[in-house]
């Protein structure tokens, strides 16, 4: 299948207060690709992500998801294709119990009860959280909430997975299991994060955004080892690479 593509063509976005957040972003992500989006604070990562399922619409340029150009009319359709995981799981878990929350998406897709239960079970098992299904979200720890938030999105079986800082609230072990989980996915993945080690582990390709434009786009190993490029964008070498470069005599 070649239709799970994401294409941004010369996308501009300006917030109502006049802030020009995107100034001509162009890239194309093909089916099954895993792409990290990195950049300084305020570079436009979150704005970019919010275009992926039509929460924001470009002020100029086109966004194409699958075969659909993103417009007001195609938003609903596109939201089924793109699963979005938010930075704060509390923003995402709004139903009274974990089960209800994970079932929310599938029910909105109009599935019948048996298949909804099946989906919920599968999604919760995927993130090792089946035991939590009857709990209300406010009784969960941060890591558990993140895991459930991912399950809630996976239950919709999206073609494309977009994540904003997925590991921000996680302890090292939960982060590690998230990384192994993400590596098993066959979806097209777009992950915005400051956690460059996570990007290096999960994403084959990396896009650096600076000041609303694409500064660099290429294989993660190449881009994330380019110290000059990273430092120019308020980033630094991933810790794993720092250790290697220190160990090597110069």
């Amino acid at each position: 299948m070649s239709h799970h593509i994401v294409e941004f063509r010369n996308v501009f976005f300006r917030y109502p207060d006049g802030t020009q957040a995107l100034r001509g972003i162009t890239f194309r992500i093909t089916h099954g690709e895993s792409v990290g989006v990195v950049g300084a604070n305020g570079a436009g990562k979150s704005t970019l992500l919010q275009h992926l399922n039509g929460y924001l619409l470009p002020t100029a340029g086109t966004v194409t998801i699958g075969d659909l150009p993103l417009t007001k009319g195609t938003r609903q359709e596109i939201r089924r294709k793109v699963g979005m995981v938010f930075q704060h799981p509390d923003d995402q878990l709004f139903m009274p119990t974990v089960f209800d929350d994970v079932a929310f998406g599938p029910l909105n897709l109009g599935m019948d009860e048996a298949s909804v239960r099946e989906r919920v079970r599968g999604a919760l098992e995927m993130v090792n959280s089946l035991a939590l299904q009857d709990k209300p979200p406010h009784h969960l720890s941060c890591g558990q909430k993140s895991a459930v938030a991912i399950a809630a999105v996976m239950a919709m079986e999206p073609d494309i997975l977009a994540m904003d800082e997925p590991a921000a609230n996680l302890d090292p072990r939960s982060r590690r299991s998230l990384i192994s989980l993400l590596r098993t996915f066959k979806h097209s993945r777009i992950i915005a994060s400051h956690d460059l080690d996570l990007i290096l582990d999960v994403c084959g390709r990396c896009i650096v955004i600076g000041d609303g434009v694409v500064v660099a786009d290429g294989p993660s190993e190449e881009i994330l080892s380019d110290r000059a490029l990273l430092e120019a964008n308020s980033l630094e070498l991933p810790l794993s690479l720092q250790r290697v470069s220190r160990a090597m005599p110069r």
Partner: protein, 269 residues
């Protein structure tokens, strides 16, 4: 330690509802209807009624016993909200001073009677409501309301209220803590700062509401909260409701306390 556990312990009510007892297994709808009937019957008594209300304490007592709910926990909750009832009835003894009864040779004014009656009705209704949630869980109650035909909009408002109450309280606690850490004992503060804190809390809440709505949209929300599992009435639910209705009728229209008193007097003689 979250705000919730530290200050209000609201979450514990929910945790009590995880238990698995006869009462917990009853259908949510049966319990919602039962509680509503109970509350209506209790408040239908006249404002001076005391003796007639006494038998109604059987219901919360039974629920607590069968549902394995700690009595002290519920009692504490009732006491916490009791100032409302106390303030409502406080002036009755002063305003309504005509003598209404003699107890152990002391004349008691009608005001005191109505005050006591308000407190009893309050204790009965509030404990019944608390027990409903402790045995059904808040989401269970919402679900039952939806099944009973409550408007979806109303029920989803309730769900959100309950879900984000905790988030809001934690947010408040974080802001208050941040203020206290930098106000160095001068308690920092005053009304001016407080007003700003409220403003910030409001803005953060608006932002969060925006993000939540966005999250709902991303998962296909189009104005209606879906729900699963049309649970079925089974005979214990019907038995519970019929027993409930029967006893409420008896307690409402037959002077049970008086009867027991007569019998007791007869035995003593």
């Amino acid at each position: 330690m979250t705000f919730d556990e530290k200050y209000f312990d609201i979450g514990r009510l929910d945790r009590l509802s995880y238990r698995d007892t006869v009462v917990h297994r009853l259908d949510g709808r049966a319990k919602v209807i039962g509680t509503a009937l109970f509350v209506l019957t209790v408040i239908s008594f006249s404002k001076y009624e005391i003796a007639g209300l006494v038998p109604f304490f059987l219901y919360p007592a039974l629920l607590m016993a069968l549902g394995d709910i700690p009595v002290r926990f519920i009692a504490r909750k009732v006491i916490v909200v009791s100032p409302f009832a106390i303030f409502i009835g406080m002036f009755n003894p002063i305003l309504d001073t005509r003598a209404a009864a003699m107890i152990f040779g002391v004349s008691v004014s009608a005001g005191w009677l109505s005050f006591a009656s308000i407190l009893m009705k309050f204790a009965l209704t509030v404990s019944a409501a608390l027990l409903l949630i402790a045995t059904t869980s808040f989401s269970g109650v919402c679900h039952a309301l939806r099944q009973l035909g409550c408007p979806a909009l109303f029920v989803s408002q309730l769900q959100f209220l309950h879900r984000y109450l905790f988030v809001l309280m934690e947010e408040t606690m974080r802001i208050v803590r941040a203020r206290d850490m930098r106000s160095f004992g001068r308690r920092g503060t005053g009304l001016k700062v407080f007003a700003r804190l409220i403003g910030i809390l409001f803005l953060r809440t608006v932002d969060r509401a925006e993000r939540i709505y966005y999250a709902m949209l991303s998962r296909g929300f189009r104005g209606d909260m879906p729900a699963l599992g049309q649970s079925r009435w089974v005979w214990p639910d019907l038995a519970f409701l019929s027993a409930m209705a029967l006893f409420l009728l008896i307690f409402r229209f037959v002077p049970v306390t008086e009867g027991i008193g007569r019998i007791a007097q007869g035995v003593i003689r």
